[in-house]
């Protein structure tokens, strides 16, 4: 009898544990690897509060996310750059794109002697360094803005991401904004042809960080979260308002706040005019289709929409804890409004 009881108890316990898991609908998304740490934590918390939904997000890269979304093999996609006209043309139906996360790109460097307050760069000098026009650390244009700093007579090693990435897109978008020569010679993209003769490519944030850390006289760009976690040396960059500053969550939020009419076609928030704005920042976008026909598609789409809406609003407090920058209120409203256009 006792054994039966134990078995019964075990079974009912199993039923308790398994039942919600069985009932939960698994939604799938794919795309940007940049948002993955935020998404995993946000979706985990969402599932904890909504036992009927679990979300499986595959960080396969923005390009892959767009492709899978186009082929309808995932419920939603995410990309560090909104889909462009070409990509939208290839979609089987009209889609809605919403800003879902905000991040900044910091400039990091490695010099033999410590510079009090950090290396200072203007927007133009940063562009010329990446163009290869400022090739040595003791270039007069650098010594002029860094009085008192010990800048060596050594070549500047320019480090960049070798893998296609939204980080590179935001960084080159910034350089295109501040330098006409960069815009015409190189342009904006997730991968570009780097013109500096002393350029080295590292794979991922860790590849860039590794190269910068080990190469004396190098300069590179990495995501804000990565700089914080790894306590890397940051350079100060002058913004459009003429102020020097480091890349901080507050600076990125200030940049985002200057753009109130954010849309998927007008999304750039680099080199904004804000007084305290950090000039190299950008949004990650999530997308789903505008209309769903079949009843089971509709109920699924409703769940996806709810997840994304929660992520773009209440979920943003999680972003702050992970060194992302929470979306400003105005942008949360934009996301909510766009999501409300979805017919389910």
């Amino acid at each position: 009898m006792k054994r039966v009881n134990v078995l019964g108890a075990a079974l009912s316990f199993a039923a308790l544990v398994v039942a919600p898991a069985l009932a939960a609908t698994q939604l799938t998304g794919a795309g940007s690897s940049f948002v993955n740490p935020f998404f995993s934590k946000a979706f985990y918390e969402y599932s904890a509060a909504h036992s009927d939904v679990t979300v499986n997000y595959q960080p396969i890269g923005s390009g892959g996310g767009i492709q899978q979304f186009t082929q309808r093999t995932v419920d939603f996609g995410a990309s560090d750059v909104p889909m462009n006209a070409d990509e939208i043309k290839r979609l089987p139906a009209s889609a809605v794109q919403v800003p879902i996360a905000l991040g900044g790109v910091a400039v990091t460097y490695n010099l033999p002697s410590f510079i009090k307050g950090g290396l200072k760069l203007t927007r133009e000098t940063l562009a010329d360094i990446y163009l290869g026009k400022i090739a040595k650390w003791n270039d007069p244009r650098l010594t002029k803005i860094n009085p008192g700093a010990e800048l060596p007579d050594a070549p500047i090693i320019v480090v960049h991401r070798s893998d296609g990435s939204g980080t590179t897109y935001i960084f080159t978008d910034f350089l295109s904004h501040v330098s006409g020569e960069w815009k015409s010679k190189v342009g904006t993209g997730k991968s570009v042809e780097w013109p500096a003769p002393s350029a080295v490519g590292g794979k991922g944030n860790d590849g860039v960080a590794g190269a910068v850390r080990q190469t004396s006289g190098s300069i590179g760009y990495v995501e804000l979260a990565y700089v914080h976690e790894n306590k890397m040396t940051q350079a100060q960059l002058q913004n459009a308002a003429g102020r020097f500053g480091f890349c901080t969550g507050r600076g990125v939020a200030a940049a985002a706040a200057t753009k109130l009419n954010l849309t998927p076609t007008d999304f750039s928030i680099v080199d904004t005019k804000g007084e305290t704005a950090w000039p190299i920042a950008g949004y990650t976008w999530a997308f789903m289709y505008r209309e769903y026909q079949k009843p089971e598609e509709k109920s699924r789409a409703k769940m996806v929409r709810d997840v994304l809406e929660w992520t773009a609003t209440s979920g943003q407090r999680i972003a702050g804890t992970l060194d992302y920058v929470p979306l400003p209120e105005s942008v949360q409203e934009i996301a909510k409004k766009s999501l409300s256009e979805i017919k389910v």
Binding site: G63, D163, S165, V186, A199, G201
Partner: protein
């Protein structure tokens, strides 16, 4: 009578098993051919729009510009071939001599664990080699080895110029370490397989063990050693992650080995997931096709070398 029918039964059975065996052999071989042919066809079809757009210029241009959709693969072909050559020269040297020591000279108590350790290297995932290369090997090479080479042999163009941590040289060394187990394991087997009579005859003529090794055993094993090197070279040519992490990913051809470079496989690994335009994807697939062709060509050249270099040596 009974014994005859037993034999017939046996014969029939063996005929059936023969057939099965033949089916298996032909089937497996056919499958190999089909896979290779299918791979080629698929790669060719995938790269057709890139082949159409750039034609032969794809092989001679040094510009890789995803922004303007201009693609050329010359620096990647160069980087792939040169990094693999550095690797095979180093790994061939170390692997063959190491194997010779392990088989012929080392005491058993040393040979067994040492061989095991070397083969253990083959089981280490390539991303570990890549990380190790980036964070440990590259700084050492940059701070000590490369300045030393530059000071002693700086008159050679391959050791000139600014010293980067991530470079063709670093990639070559990481690849060499990765393919050493292949070279040494096969070479060990090949050396061990050289007929005992040859060794004994050589010793009987008064040759020392070293002379026996250099004049009898190694020449006898050359074909096998060459095979080992070709196999190892194949792995070096196609290695992706480890190379990507240490080569510097710069699509440019420089005379110096201390400069960053790029390989075919690395570009694909770096850019495929974020490539969105059709021509871009097609160009990346064409790189895959080129890697296929380069591997075939290198294998072919290695084979021709074996024939031309080894046959006359044997005839002599």
């Amino acid at each position: 009578m009974q014994s005859e029918s037993h034999e017939q039964l046996h014969l029939r059975r063996s005929r059936i098993s023969d057939r099965w065996f033949m089916a298996g052999v032909y089937g497996a071989t056919g499958l190999f051919v089909a896979i290779v042919a299918g791979l080629f066809v698929e790669l060719y079809a995938g790269s057709s729009s890139s082949i159409h757009a750039f034609g032969f210029k794809f092989l001679t241009s040094s510009h890789w510009n995803p922004v303007t959709n201009q693609f050329g693969a010359l620096p990647m072909i160069y980087g792939t071939v040169v990094s693999s050559l550095i690797a095979i020269v180093l790994a061939g040297f170390v692997g063959v001599f190491g194997a010779a020591y392990l088989v012929e000279f080392a005491p058993r108590a040393v040979a067994r664990p040492l061989a095991f350790l070397i083969e253990l290297l083959a089981a280490v995932p390539s991303v570990i080699f890549g990380l190790w290369g980036l964070f440990i090997l590259a700084p050492v090479l940059r701070a000590y080895v490369e300045p030393f080479l530059q000071a002693k042999f700086g008159f050679l163009p391959i050791f000139q110029g600014f010293i980067f941590g991530s470079s063709l040289f670093t990639a070559g060394i990481v690849l060499a370490i990765m393919i050493v187990p292949t070279v040494s394991a096969i070479t060990r087997d090949v050396i061990a397989a050289v007929a005992r009579e040859h060794r004994e005859a050589s010793m009987a003529l008064g040759a020392t063990r070293w002379e026996t090794m250099a004049r009898v055993i190694l020449p006898g094993a050359t074909t096998g050693i060459f095979g080992a090197c070709v196999l190892a070279l194949g792995r070096a040519l196609g290695e992706t992650i480890a190379t990507t992490m240490v080569i510097g990913n710069k699509p440019a051809i420089a005379a110096s080995l201390f400069q960053p470079a790029y390989t075919l496989a690395s570009v694909i690994a770096n850019e495929f997931t974020e490539a969105t335009s059709d021509l871009y994807v097609s160009a990346l697939i064409e790189l895959g096709l080129l890697l296929f062709v380069v591997s075939l060509a290198v294998n072919g050249i290695a084979r021709v070398l074996t024939w031309t270099v080894l046959r006359p040596a044997k005839a002599r």
